[in-house]
Amino acid sequence: MKKAGRRLIVVFWAMVLSGLAFSTFLHSDEELHKVWAVKDVKIVRPAGPALEKATIVIRDGLFEAVGVGLPVPPDAEVIDGSNLTAYPGLIDGLGQSLLKLPEEKFDMAKFYSGEYTDKDKGITPDLRAYDYVNLTKSVFEKYYRYGFTAAQVMPDRGILTGRSSIFCLSDPDRAKALLLKDTCLGIGFNSPRVMVYPSSLMGIYAYLKQVFQDSAYFKMNESRWLKDMTGIKRPAYNSHFENLADYASGKKPVIFLCRNQHDIRRALNLAAEFKLNFVICDLGNEASAVIPELKKAKARVLCTVGFKAPVTSLYSQRGKAEREKAEKEVYPKNPAKLAEAGIPVAFSSLGTDDPKSFMEGILKAVEAGLPSDKALAALSVNPAAFFGLDKALGTIEPGKIANLILAEGDILVKEAKVKYAFAEGKKFELKEVKAKEGEKPTVNVTGKWEFTLAQAGFKFTIDFTQEEAALSGKMISPFGAFDFTGGVVSASDISFEMTISAGGQEIDLYFSATVEGDTMRGTVVQGTAGSDEFTAKRIPG
């Protein structure tokens, strides 16, 4: 039996390496239970008072019934919500971390020839987030831990940065997870740093004006030609103009990625001149400096929460001490000021590293005066409304997608714990990292380790971060880099799980090992494909 298992895993890794792996073993628990009832739960709503002792029924990915004193359907699995608070699943209004764009190596030959492509210039309206999104269960878990169950993803590099998609964090299969595709077009004011037009901020502004005009002109000519092909010269096809047309005509929203308040003014000017349907993404946290203009333009704002002062700000020009002081005292007040002025605000994770730091930033904004109901609105109903999903997301209401968070305590106050996350009706239980019974760690594995699989003879690296008993890390393998969290260290034993994607498949791996100094020895299990033994050595340095 053991031998057969070993043979299987050798075959498995061989298939992974050749890109042919199939994952027949990827059954998840959530597929088996499709009806849930959360009983006696407190429901927090973005508007209006909380509902106490309510029942939430979820069926086939949607909220079926929500209210006080509702009967529990006989086929439902019941969750006791008496110590829990229910929130609509939070939405990251605009992020980048789910996106894995191919790494662009700059070709020095271009530098010498001066022949740059539109990609080099940062003009990539053809770039679709949908094509490059990287959804994995381990990433989902990180989002769930801080209450997020949906996110908009958009390339953010360059001038016409690309087109966004909005995903429900419910399935690693992007086709199933997708809510809306090619939703927004990103517009940035970043010069490409190569000597090619437009290379300066003023050039970018002029370019944007011209390209909006050109795309409208192209569409006008094209439609005239399609209407009557006689006597009219047809326009030359241009994929940029084609992709831009719906945005240039205000049919679809653009997102302006504004690095400071001056970018916001520029964006408002462009939006007014071309009558754009637009959202401001306030990367510089300075939107509160232009409140009258934003109100006049009826602008919607995506607030980021990195709270770094832009280089153009006076604080930055006055030196490090002033800048740091402002980053602590002035910039975190930005969302509160906007909300107070009645400007519709949502949160964007751009400028933060991960869901953890994103939520930390949001809590900073709450501490700096943003009322928690407005913060919740900025994470639920507002982003849903900004991007046309208000009928499907943002509140816990019958008929909406069952994105739900059950937490101990208030998630918009520090130290709340998300216990369960439902993404499109799929339940995910967030285990507490330290709650597992175990002994105090006697080892610290923080650092890089080289793993060798005994049977497959396959090598990869894992970079561990150990904080007391909690273990997280990143695997660097020939298929790419994969993160994991939620690992546990007990005495000198470690265990962790991760999902990797290889050969177009999601593969769950369960590692367990015993550490001895700078070496470890253990087993990796891959569902029904069997297991393999491994050894690992600490890489010095």
Binding site: M195, S199, S200, M202, G203, A206, H262, R266, R318
Partner: protein, 453 residues
């Protein structure tokens, strides 16, 4: 070295910055000043009466009233606010659009950074208006703009209303890119003749563009009159670059042309005359003293440095006396900064033309005031101390051309935007407060340590 100096100054200015821009609610009377009017005779022990944003009277022993706030200048020197006709401050992002040869579609108005601390530094040197524009990478570049140094106001509010928009051109080494050499930067033209040919070609393109629109309008009219029999023609594609060139050809934009050498200046003057282009000024124009007759004939000014001779080969053939000589021959001359640091002591630069070129003091003051005002098309409002003009003033402790002079107070639109005494006072207070805070931060810690012991 320069950078460190700027940084330390930035640190010192922290408090002073917030204290500026206080306004005179009532009428304001500046008394007992030595007034350098830049329009006529200087007035020793004179007064200036300001109402709102304007100077209403200039003279001796002007009566004070109950509703008039009086500032006794006690013999200090007042001159018209200094006007810097060639500057690149308050421009956000790259100061050059290097990506293309002709960039008449770019506009500095789109990238004004009103938070650039150099605006405040300008005020500390008595500067009240500037012409800010992009660099000299393009034979025909983008649009420049005149700003008033209304520190603390928005970009829109800083724009000098009524001032004509400018078009920045460049001849010589920069557009032919000897100064931008490097891999991947090969760009036509590579010679001075190429630069001029490129400009001529662009003019022809713009003329053709205008012709296409005219044809279209004619055809459109025919179509409209045919009552649907003749279909409406397709309009030509709107090209913002060629529209910028068209605005140059129709005189809407005032051309400011970066040039050093006399031959290229002569040549471009002829070209501009041929096409009816409003060429108002050569930027730098270091060899302008050699072609003064032509400059006067074509009515072209020079906006130049007081020194900076021979720092690159196209600047060899000039001399310390150049600005003074050109002025003596009737050329309109402005002394400019081209640099945020030099901007703070332009009065020293004007003094150099007196010391080295033998220019009269009155003429030297004009190179910083009414002359640049004329070049920038704002002389109706600023540049002299006269009734009816904007109350843009700079107050000095000594004659502004004195090597030891210090600018004490700068006023824009009748509002004090820089007051050295107040600034120094604020700085002192700030330092004291900082010390106090530091002391407070130390005290509880010591106590805690004491308790632990």
């Amino acid at each position: 070295m320069k950078k460190y100096w700027i940084l330390s100054l930035a640190g010192l200015l922290i408090l002073g910055l917030s204290a500026t821009g206080y306004a005179a609610e009532k009428s304001l009377l500046l008394k007992n000043a030595n007034i350098i009017t830049a329009s006529g005779e200087n007035i020793a022990g004179g007064d200036i009466l300001i109402q709102g944003t304007k100077i209403v009277r200039v003279g001796k022993n002007l009566p004070a009233g109950l509703d008039i706030e009086v500032i006794d200048l006690a013999g200090r020197w007042v001159m018209p606010g200094i006007i810097d006709s060639h500057s690149h401050i308050a421009v956000e992002g790259d100061v050059n659009e290097m990506g293309d040869l002709m960039t008449s579609e770019v506009d500095v108005r789109d990238v004004i950074n009103p938070e650039d601390v150099n605006i405040y530094y300008a005020l500390t040197g008595g500067v009240t208006s500037i012409h800010t524009m992009h660099g000299s990478a393009n034979p025909i570049g983008g649009k420049g703009i005149v700003l008033k140094m209304r520190w603390g106001k928005s970009a829109q509010e800083m724009i000098f209303q009524g001032a004509p928009l400018t078009s920045k051109w460049a001849l010589g080494e920069n557009p032919k890119q000897t100064n931008f050499q490097g891999p991947g930067r090969a760009r036509y033209p590579k010679s001075r003749m190429g630069v001029e040919a490129a400009i001529r070609k662009e003019f022809e393109l713009a003329k053709d563009y205008a012709r296409q629109w005219k044809d279209y309008e004619k055809k459109l009219e025919v179509s409209q009159n045919s009552k649907g029999k003749i279909p409406a023609p397709l309009p030509p594609k709107k090209d913002n670059r060629l529209e910028g060139i068209a605005d140059i050809l129709n005189g809407k934009l005032w051309v400011r042309c970066h040039a050093y050498q006399s031959e290229e200046m002569l040549s471009i003057m002829r070209l501009c005359q041929e096409y009816g282009v409003k060429l108002v000024c050569f930027e730098h124009g270091l060899e302008g003293y050699r072609i003064t007759n032509e400059l006067v004939k074509y009515g072209v000014a020079i906006s130049t440095f007081a020194d900076s001779w021979a720092y690159k080969w196209e600047a060899y053939n000039t001399m310390p006396q150049a600005a003074a000589l050109a002025a003596k021959r009737g050329v309109l001359v402005a002394i400019n900064s081209d640099d945020p640091e030099r901007m703070r002591h332009l009065f020293n630069d004007a003094a150099k033309t007196v010391r080295f070129g033998g220019m009269s003091e009155a003429e030297a003051i004009k190179t910083l005031t009414i002359n640049p005002a004329k070049i920038m098309g704002i002389d109706r409002w600023v540049g002299t101390i006269e009734a009816g003009k904007d109350a843009d003033l700079a107050v000095f402790n000594r004659h502004p051309l004195d090597p030891y002079t210090v600018c004490m107070l700068t006023m824009v639109d009748g509002k004090v935007y820089f007051d050295r005494a107040r600034y120094l006072d604020d700085r002192k207070k700030g330092e004291e407060e900082k010390k106090k805070k530091e002391a407070e931060a130390k005290t509880p810690k010591e106590k805690k340590n004491g308790a632990e012991v």
